[in-house]
Every structure is written in structure tokens, then in C-alpha cells.
């Protein structure tokens, strides 16, 4: 009499085992992105550890399941439809990873707001001073006094874009996320710098250090002047995280 593990057709067992490749590839794809330190292209840093742990858990379980499938202890057959859909996801995971770029997100009318309606015009009184492009934008949105930050020194990093309204000015842009690339919104800063085309190419990453100047004395818009422009590599985290840099009193 045949042992129970050989009771089923061997090709069926191997077919079941092969179909485990789809969930395995999905988890491996996520793990490979984590190992290449590219999870920040897609999600908030706070999720990266649990995502990596979840991928490892799934890989272990799939391997055990495959072993049981071959040993004939499990008989569930994944549907072809599920396998193909998973494989579609896996294909995307193994393509070269790119973060979302500022030019891929439409300018938003939305203005990031801080966590209070307090007037945050007194820069020196702030217990948390902004250090990212998103943080500065929050500060501007939370101070009604035009020109309150004139002559403040500022350093930001972002991607260069031409300003269609001025030849002497260009834009530094950075995407802000709350959770993942799906909710990315675009933040933009003006930089006034004669001949900027010689030192900053569009769609490249730069660090700008300069001084804030009101664009118009009657509103809250600023431009960076006296700017030092340095080309940099794309940062590990290409996005600003809004909740990490909210200026507070």
C-alpha cells in the first residue's frame, strides 16, 4: 500500500508547489527593495521595518507551505486568476525602482498647515524650527504678517524646475508625503539667481542656501536670494515627511 504522501498524482503536487512561486516572488520583491534601501521611494520610513518583517514572515511561511505541498500534507490549489494577479504585482516589484518626481505631480492648491492656529511669526521663539522645504511652507502658512521672515537664512534641498514666469528665477520643488507616494503633494520654493541656468539643470537635485526675501510686500510669498547652489545626489528619502517637521512654539 502506498504511503499517504504519494497518494496524489506527483504532477499535481509539483503544480501546487510551483504556484507558491507567486506569493514567494511578491514577498521576495518587497524584501529586495528593502535590502536596496529603496522602500523610502514608496512609503513613510515608519512603515519600513514592519514591511521588511512582514516580507520575511511570508517567505518563511511560503517555504514551509511548499514543503508541505510536495509532501502532500496540504491540498489547497491556488486559483490561476490569483496566481496571475500576484505575478503582475511581482513584475512591477522587480522593475527598476524610481521615486515619484515633482514633475509627475500636479501643482496643488492645498497649503500645508501646522498643528495650531497660533501665529508662528516669531522665528526665534519657535521650539521646533523648520529644516525642510515642507516645514518652511508650513511656517509661512501659519504667519499672517507679510515679510516676517525677511533676511532669515534658509537651507533646503529639492529638484530644480524652470519658472515659466521669470528668466531670473527658478523653482525648487519637493514632494511631501503623509503615508506613501499615493498621497504626495507638491511644495515649491522660488529662488532668484541671475544665470541660474549655468549652475542648476532642470530635474536635478540641489541644495540651496540663501536668504529669504518677500516677493511682494503685501503677501506671504518668499523667494530665496543670495543663493549658494550645490548639486547633490538624490537623498535616501526623496520625500519630505510633513508630520516630522511641523514648526511649533
Amino acid at each position: 500500500m502506498l504511503p499517504q504522501s504519494l497518494a496524489m498524482e506527483p504532477p499535481m503536487r509539483w503544480r501546487n508547489a510551483l504556484r507558491q512561486l507567486a506569493p514567494l516572488s511578491l514577498a521576495l520583491g518587497i524584501l529586495s527593495i528593502a535590502l536596496k534601501n529603496q522602500l523610502s521611494f514608496y512609503i513613510h520610513p515608519r512603515y519600513q521595518l514592519i514591511t521588511t518583517a512582514a516580507a520575511i514572515i511570508v517567505i518563511v511561511i511560503v517555504l514551509i507551505h511548499t514543503y508541505y505541498s510536495i509532501k502532500q500534507k496540504n491540498t489547497n490549489t491556488p486559483s490561476k486568476k490569483n496566481v496571475w494577479t500576484l505575478l503582475a504585482g511581482c513584475t512591477l516589484l522587480f522593475l527598476p525602482a524610481y521615486p515619484l518626481l515633482p514633475q509627475q505631480v500636479e501643482p496643488s492648491y492645498a497649503i500645508p498647515l501646522g498643528d495650531s492656529q497660533a501665529q508662528l511669526c516669531d522665528f526665534d521663539a519657535l521650539s521646533h524650527k523648520p529644516h525642510t522645504l515642507a516645514g518652511w511652507k508650513v511656517l509661512f502658512a501659519n504667519c499672517d504678517t507679510p515679510g516676517a521672515f525677511n533676511n532669515r537664512e534658509i537651507t533646503i534641498e529639492g529638484v530644480v524646475a524652470a519658472d515659466p514666469t521669470s528668466y531670473e528665477r527658478f523653482l525648487v520643488q519637493r514632494l511631501v508625503i503623509s503615508c506613501c507616494a499615493v498621497d504626495a503633494t507638491l511644495n515649491t520654493f522660488y529662488v532668484t539667481h541671475n544665470g541660474w541656468q549655468q549652475v542648476a539643470a532642470p530635474n536635478t537635485w540641489v541644495r540651496i542656501t540663501g536668504t529669504l526675501k518677500s516677493i511682494d510686500p503685501n503677501n506671504r510669498g518668499y523667494s530665496i536670494t543670495d543663493a549658494t547652489i550645490t548639486s547633490i545626489e538624490q537623498p535616501d528619502n526623496p520625500y519630505n515627511i510633513l508630520s516630522d517637521d511641523i514648526p511649533t512654539l
Binding site: P23, G89, L113, D115, C180, D183
Partner: protein, 297 residues
């Protein structure tokens, strides 16, 4: 104007961001559902939960406090609860309320809207109210008419859990993972396609009209499918340009029905029941948001 290559790249990045963000919560949810399937006996649930239907649903609505994961992680748990014999109306209350009434969501909403704490209470109250109303409405269907055939059968013949072995646990996990993960991928592809095809500006073009702004923010939440634990920070960016009522609508509807959740909820409900749930949630959320606009004026 983006080139086709940039559009494709954007589509891939957005789809992957949804898959990767939801992945750990789905895995956690399936682990919990596997434990429920292996160890929870139907008679325990009957003994522990209140006999009175409203109270039972109220208790289940607060189950998210014990399981503060992204809404997609609740789907496998809900499936296992139905398979353990809970009524689909009761499970609906859990499924819709848990993403909102959980400590992480409440804390992030309080942090984001510390300048307007009433938004937190509107969110929690409305989430609870809608979950209970939707649970009542979906109860008009019998399990056979509301649930996918396999679940309806499991619900009717709920029996003692099988002997808990590693082999059985792994098998349960994998069969659930293959189903839920494939639908997650499908939902993520839909979310990304919709985002590439419909620019965000469309949603903000109607901010002057209260009714349209409520609808447009609900539509934004539906399309974006952001995790409920952080959507408050996203909504924060719209406070200056959209009416408060529409922000509340976004915070209520997003965690309950979005493209990703609807795709996953298809593993539980038949299309008619799902359509009813969708309509009830949208209608009640609109009414509540209108109420909020007057109360907060």
C-alpha cells in the same frame, strides 16, 4: 504635460506604494485571522458577546482598539469571524468602525487637528454611527444573499476549529494570503490608474460649493485609498482650501470605502450587498458632514 514614459513610471510607483504600504497590515490581519480560525470556537463568541444585537455590534465596533491596523488588515479578520459563525451584520459593524475607532487613527487625527479637536469627535462619532447603520441595513439580506458562497456556507456550518497544527495553520494562512494579496495587487493597479488619469485639481475645483466639495473630498478619499492611521495628515493639507465639512467627509469615508477596500470587501460580500453598503455609507456620511458644517459654523 507628462510623456507616456513618465505616466507609466508614475503608475508603477503609485501601484507599488499602495501594495508595499498595505502589505504588512494584510499579513498581520491574516495572521490574526489564522489564529481566530484555529483557536476560537463559535460558542465562545456567543458566550462572550452581548446577546442583544445593538449592544453586540457596539462592542464589535470597538474591537479596533485591540487591533489597530490599517483597514485592509481587518478584511481577513472579518472573514474569519464570519466563518466562526458571527452574523454578517455584526461583522460589518467591526469592519467599518475598526479603522476609525482605534488608538492610532484617533491619535494621528488629534495630532493633525489639534487646532480643532471637534474634528476628532466628529470622525469617531460619525464612524461609529455609520458602521451601526450600515450593519443594520446589510442585515436585511440573509447570509446566503449577502455573502460570497464559500463564506455563507462556512457561516451556516460553523463548527469547532480544526486541530491546530503547523500544517493546518500554514495552509489557512496561504489560502487567505493568495486571495487577499491578489486582490490587493488588483486594487493597487486600479488606484494607480485612476490617479494617473484623474488629476487632483479636479477634486479641488468645486471648493466653493459645500455639497460638491463634500462629494469631491469623498471621491478623493475613495481614489487615494490611504491608510486610515495617517490620512489625517493628508487631509490637513486641504484645510485651507476646502470646507471643514468636506474634510470630515474625507476622514469618515476614506477608511470605510475606497478602491482598495471595495476590491478586498468583494471577498466577503456579494455585489448587491456591497452596493447597498456603499450607498448607505455615502448617503449617511454626506448627511453627517452637512450637519457638521452647521454645527461647526
Amino acid at each position: 504635460m507628462l510623456t507616456l514614459e513618465q505616466d507609466i513610471q508614475k503608475f508603477i510607483t503609485l501601484a507599488l506604494s499602495v501594495i508595499i504600504e498595505a502589505f504588512p497590515f494584510v499579513v498581520l490581519g491574516i495572521l490574526v485571522s489564522t489564529v481566530v480560525s484555529l483557536y476560537v470556537k463559535p460558542e465562545w463568541l456567543v458566550r462572550i458577546l452581548p446577546k442583544q444585537r445593538f449592544l453586540r455590534r457596539l462592542v464589535l465596533s470597538f474591537l479596533g482598539v485591540l487591533m489597530p491596523v490599517c483597514e485592509c488588515g481587518n478584511i481577513p479578520v472579518a472573514r474569519s469571524l464570519i466563518a466562526r459563525g458571527l452574523h454578517h451584520g455584526d461583522v460589518t459593524a467591526f469592519l467599518l468602525a475598526a479603522p476609525i475607532i482605534n488608538p492610532i487613527t484617533i491619535l494621528s487625527t488629534m495630532t493633525a487637528f489639534s487646532f480643532n479637536p471637534s474634528i476628532v469627535w466628529w470622525r469617531v462619532g460619525a464612524g461609529l454611527g455609520i458602521a451601526l447603520i450600515a450593519a443594520y441595513c446589510v442585515s436585511i439580506f440573509t447570509p446566503k444573499k449577502a455573502l460570497q458562497p464559500a463564506l455563507a456556507h462556512a457561516c451556516e456550518s460553523a463548527h469547532a476549529p480544526p486541530k491546530a497544527t503547523l500544517s493546518r495553520g500554514v495552509q489557512l494562512f496561504m489560502s487567505e494570503f493568495q486571495l487577499i494579496a491578489s486582490l490587493l495587487v488588483f486594487g493597487a493597479l486600479l488606484v494607480a490608474a485612476t490617479q494617473v488619469l484623474i488629476p487632483n485639481e479636479v477634486y479641488q475645483a468645486v471648493s466653493d460649493n459645500l455639497f460638491l466639495s463634500i462629494l469631491s473630498m469623498m471621491a478623493l478619499g475613495f481614489v487615494l485609498s490611504i491608510c486610515s492611521s495617517v490620512d489625517a495628515f493628508f487631509a490637513l493639507a486641504y484645510v485651507a482650501v476646502m470646507p471643514t465639512a468636506s474634510i470630515i467627509a474625507f476622514l469618515i469615508v476614506g477608511p470605510m470605502v475606497d478602491i482598495k477596500m471595495l476590491t478586498l470587501m468583494r471577498t466577503i460580500f456579494k455585489p448587491k450587498a456591497l452596493a447597498l453598503l456603499f450607498i448607505v455609507i455615502i448617503v449617511v456620511a454626506t448627511i453627517i458632514s452637512y450637519g457638521a458644517s452647521y454645527a461647526l459654523a
